[in-house]
């Protein structure tokens, strides 16, 4: 990956990122994180910022289909890659997973929820029938100070069951 350096400022980089299916040009200072690029430059504020050091998971997005903390990825590192944010996931209204978050009472203040949903979606894509310990492990990087953990686990289990066709 060799992002083109913008002419006027050697510290500014331009990256081409496919965000939620659309190619976007992101011009940003070299030290800007993908999280900042998404929020401040592309206006996609569904992805949240809390710790900015990879410890809370609020900023989780899918990078080439894999869940990452977008605060730990530089904009330039996403050049040529595909990013899915919570907005992309919700393009056609709430998904089954998001519905189950609501049904389970997993949503309190909601600040951590976009990150939780992205991590849970990644888990279910890679492991469609996770056990409870597997769910806890996969989501352990996503903090929820409202303490909705048990509700979130219930929502993920319910979604897995729904996707497996156990429910109609």
């Amino acid at each position: 990956m060799s992002p083109a350096q913008a002419d006027e400022d050697p510290l500014t980089t331009t990256s081409t990122v496919t965000v939620n299916g659309t190619a976007r040009i992101v011009t940003a200072p070299a030290h800007r994180s993908l999280l900042e690029g998404l929020r401040d430059i592309l206006g996609l504020t569904g992805t949240k910022s809390c710790c900015a050091e990879g410890e809370c998971g609020a900023c989780t997005v899918l990078l080439d289909g894999k869940a990452v903390n977008s605060c730990l990825v530089l904009c330039v590192e996403s050049d040529g890659h595909e990013v899915t944010t919570i907005e992309g996931l919700s393009e056609c209204g709430p998904t089954d997973l998001q519905e189950e978050f609501l049904n389970a009472g997993a949503v309190q203040c909601g600040f951590c929820i976009p990150g939780q949903v992205m991590s849970a979606e990644y888990l279910l894509r890679t492991n469609p029938a996770p056990s409870e310990p597997e769910i806890r492990e996969a989501l352990s990087g996503n903090l929820c100070r409202c303490g909705g953990y048990a509700r979130i686990v219930a929502a993920v289990k319910e979604t897995a069951a729904r996707r497996a066709g156990d429910h109609d």
Partner: protein, 776 residues
């Protein structure tokens, strides 16, 4: 569970059988919250806003000798570098209990993170570069960072005496003390057959909302200010800013986007006054979004040390209970004196104790100002008192359930005696028994396991005012204006449910406007789990007001005498039929259309002379029971079962009750098991940020997390409800401590019960045992 107790009129009467109230209606605004559409403060767009960054020094206590802003001010993009000297003189101070907190540090830094200057710049990069270019000369002072340091003779005084000139305690670091006493101590001691005496400590912890927070202030063309801040108390913020900037209330409009977690930390003004001065000075929109580290430096819970001495009869009856508690508060009062006074008021617990002596102090230190935090001073005292009950039980050969059964007050019985008596407003034994049953109290224990049970109590609001407006529109849909901040508890969902039942409107046709002091009537605050009771009642009243107006106008429009009409929730009753209210409303409005506007007010006046300013509107009562497995090799705890039972009056939305209860349980495990703000000898917070300050994660959730509610429809809120959002963390620590003690045979009296601490205690006990053969 039992018959509803109808000693007081229940707002809204008894719940409607097939109504929305009592259903797990999906959270209002839920779809936005799961899909990223919810706009928190940092998500709001303010084109052309200037960015603000704060200048701090890396010390907890220092004299500021000089601040050189000249270089910073010349950097590109910098609009202003503001220090205390640029503010009105003397520098304005503010605060809820004392006006002691300066808008910017003036002459001295009193805690790590207290801003000494602020930079306003075109971009955040420019602001941050300028922060680095500000040169602050300072000299470290011997600050006080612990209780022992703050209370030592000749200790450095955190607050200059001139700040509290009329306070007789201005020459010490004790900002306020409280004394509660009743009963004949000497007589009680006579009857005493066992005494336990111990010291307990409760750590400083930080709120750690996942939304760090911030403030944006927009100067308006009319000379006013629009203040955006995710606060729990928008009307308090409005009043504070208006008074500091000498503006009429109507010129300060507070927009309060839903807080991304509040927990008490987002109640009281912090940087909003500074931001207002910056906006006024620069005539620009000024935006400050805090980092998580800055948020740690803006809010925390008071740590506490509790010395307790408790007497028992052989049967386990408590004869006397003496508590001496020091709350370590920060450099400015915030609401900490009240936290201390309210927490220690119920310090004796919900027990029948003939003689009680409680003394508590709020002790200033050079640390982050401590503020409200879910539980508001009760968890600290409960840690001491509940642990004392178990200490007594161990001495007497009783178990934790037995000793509580013996002493817990019955409904109507006083647990606080004397001039400011308080009586049990619930059948609290039901919660105790239910928790015991759910945790399997009498089941045999596996090796290395133990169980503990504890109860907690917290006074609700002692005075307050909530006002609301409801508009019933021509088509039968409705809009509620209610100033409660929806920070996760789901308040707006309840207003929808109430209006649906009271007016007969479908839940999804009710929307709620909040978070705007320019459009929504006054509400005192969103705290103390008060909103269901106070705002809920105001919303019910507004609906009743609408029903009366419909009846009157229907009579006028149709010519039917008003005396022949009656109204009930959702219905207008005529001589020959019951009409759906919305239908009657439409008929009454006629071809001109229009709408009905109802007003509701819920007011609780305090009682002068009461140490808390009045009697609590209700008590939150909880019983927590925990089964734990302790790894004796590592000291690690595995919570195999965690049960929380709340005395909730009535569940208006069961799933929301579960969410609150589970959330508070997990938060209680945080301060019981792992959380602790660490301050070094220079007053610096050593574990600033998510990397070093651990809160519970998915992996810390008990294997089985069980919550249950006792419903007796006996609360003062709508349909017999009470506030419920704090109960489940009041006594977590006591239950966990007792469980660990049973599992290991060692008692730890300092929180948090980290693996290191538990392991060391086990090791020390083993060493003792091998050193001295115990006479058994």
């Amino acid at each position: 569970m039992t018959d509803p107790v109808k000693s007081v009129p229940i707002p809204g009467g008894l719940p409607h059988e097939h109504g929305a109230v009592g259903q797990s209606v999906t959270r209002y605004g839920g779809v936005d919250r799961v899909s990223g559409g919810q706009r928190f403060l940092a998500d709001l767009s303010f084109p052309g806003a200037a960015q603000v960054a704060l200048v701090t020094i890396p010390l907890g206590c220092a004299d500021i000798l000089g601040i050189d802003t000249s270089l910073a001010a010349r950097l590109p993009g910098v609009l202003a570098v503001v220090t205390a000297e640029d503010l009105p003189q003397p520098v304005p101070r503010f605060g809820v209990s004392h006006q002691d907190r300066p808008v910017l540090a003036t002459g001295r830094v009193n805690y790590h993170g207290e801003p000494v200057a602020a930079v306003v710049a075109e971009t955040l990069d420019a602001a941050q570069a300028a922060v680095r270019a500000v040169r602050v000369d300072y000299r470290e002072l011997p600050g006080v960072y612990t209780l022992d340091e703050a209370l030592a003779p000749g200790a450095h005084l955190v607050q200059d005496q001139s700040i509290r000139p009329d306070d007789p305690k201005r020459d010490s670091n004790v900002l306020k003390d409280a004394h509660y006493a009743w009963g004949d101590l000497a007589a009680a001691q006579q009857r005493t057959e066992a005494v336990v005496e111990h010291v307990y400590t409760f750590p400083m912890v930080t709120h750690f909302p996942i939304e760090p927070g911030g403030t944006v202030v927009v100067p308006t063309d009319e000379g006013g200010l629009d203040v955006y801040s995710p606060v729990q108390h928008p009307y308090l913020l409005q009043r504070t800013v208006a008074s500091l900037l000498q503006l009429p209330l109507n010129k300060v409009r507070v927009f309060a986007p839903d807080p991304g977690g509040g927990f008490g930390g987002k109640q009281n003004p912090k940087y909003e006054p500074l931001m207002s001065f910056l906006a006024q000075r620069t005539r620009r929109t000024c935006r400050l979004v805090l980092s998580l580290e800055e948020t740690f430096q803006a809010m925390r819970r008071a740590g506490c040390r509790i010395k307790a001495r408790t007497g028992f009869t052989r049967q386990g009856e408590i004869t006397f209970h003496e508590l001496d508690a020091d709350y370590l508060i920060g450099a400015y009062a915030d609401v900490a004196p009240r936290v201390m006074a309210k927490g220690s008021y119920v310090g004796g617990g919900p027990y029948r104790i003939p003689a009680v002596r409680i003394t508590a102090r709020a002790v200033l230190s050079n640390t982050t100002p401590s503020t409200a935090f879910r539980g508001f001073g009760s968890p600290q005292m409960a840690w001491g008192t509940e642990s004392q009950l178990d200490a007594g039980a161990r001495v007497l050969g009783l178990d934790g359930l037995q000793v509580r059964r013996r002493n817990l007050v019955a409904r109507g019985e006083a647990f606080i005696r004397g001039d400011h008596q308080a009586t049990a407003d619930g059948d609290w034994a039901q919660s105790l028994e239910k928790a015991a049953e759910l945790v399997g109290w009498h089941e045999p224990l596996k090796p290395n396991r133990g169980r503990g049970i504890a109860v907690g109590i917290k006074p609700g609001a002692t005075s307050g005012l909530s006002q609301s407006l409801v508009r019933l529109l021509y088509d039968g849909s409705a809009i509620v204006y209610a100033g409660t901040s929806d920070m996760g508890q789901g308040a707006r969902t309840l207003w929808q449910q109430i209006v649906a039942d009271e007016l007969g409107t479908p839940v999804d046709q009710v929307n709620v406007v909040s978070g705007d002091t320019g459009a929504v009537p006054f509400d005192l605050q969103t705290s103390a789990s008060r909103s269901t009771v106070f705002m809920g009642t105001a919303v019910i009243e507004a609906c009743a007001d609408i029903r009366r107006r419909i009846l009157d106008l229907y009579a006028e429009t149709t010519g039917v005498p008003a005396g022949e009409l009656d109204e009930r929730p959702g219905v207008l009753v005529t001589a020959d039929r019951e009409m759906p209210l919305v239908e009657a409303a439409r008929e009454a409005l006629g071809p001109l259309r229009g709408e009905f506007i109802g007003q509701g007010v819920s007011r609780l006046r305090g009682r002068s002379g009461h140490p808390l300013g009045g009697d609590a509107a209700f008590y939150e009562f909880n019983c927590t029971a925990i089964e734990v497995e302790v790894d004796p090799e590592t000291g690690e705890l595995l919570l195999t079962r965690h049960v929380s039972v709340g005395d909730v009056g009535r569940e208006l939305n069961p799933i929301q009750v579960v969410s609150q209860d589970e959330g508070a349980s997990i938060m209680g495990l945080g301060h019981s098991q792992m959380e602790q703000v660490l301050v070094d000898e220079h007053g610096r917070i050593r574990n600033l940020g998510a990397l070093d300050y651990r809160i519970p994660t998915f992996k810390d959730v008990p294997v089985e997390l069980v919550t249950a509610a006792v419903e007796n429809h006996d609360g003062p809120g709508p349909y017999g409800s009470k506030g419920i959002s704090e109960g489940a963390l009041l006594c977590t620590a006591g239950a966990l401590g007792a469980a660990v003690a049973q599992a290991t045979g060692v008692v730890v009296r300092d929180l948090p019960l980290t693996p290191e601490r538990v392991w060391s205690a086990i090791r020390a006990a083993n060493a003792d045992r091998s050193a001295a053969p115990r006479p058994e």
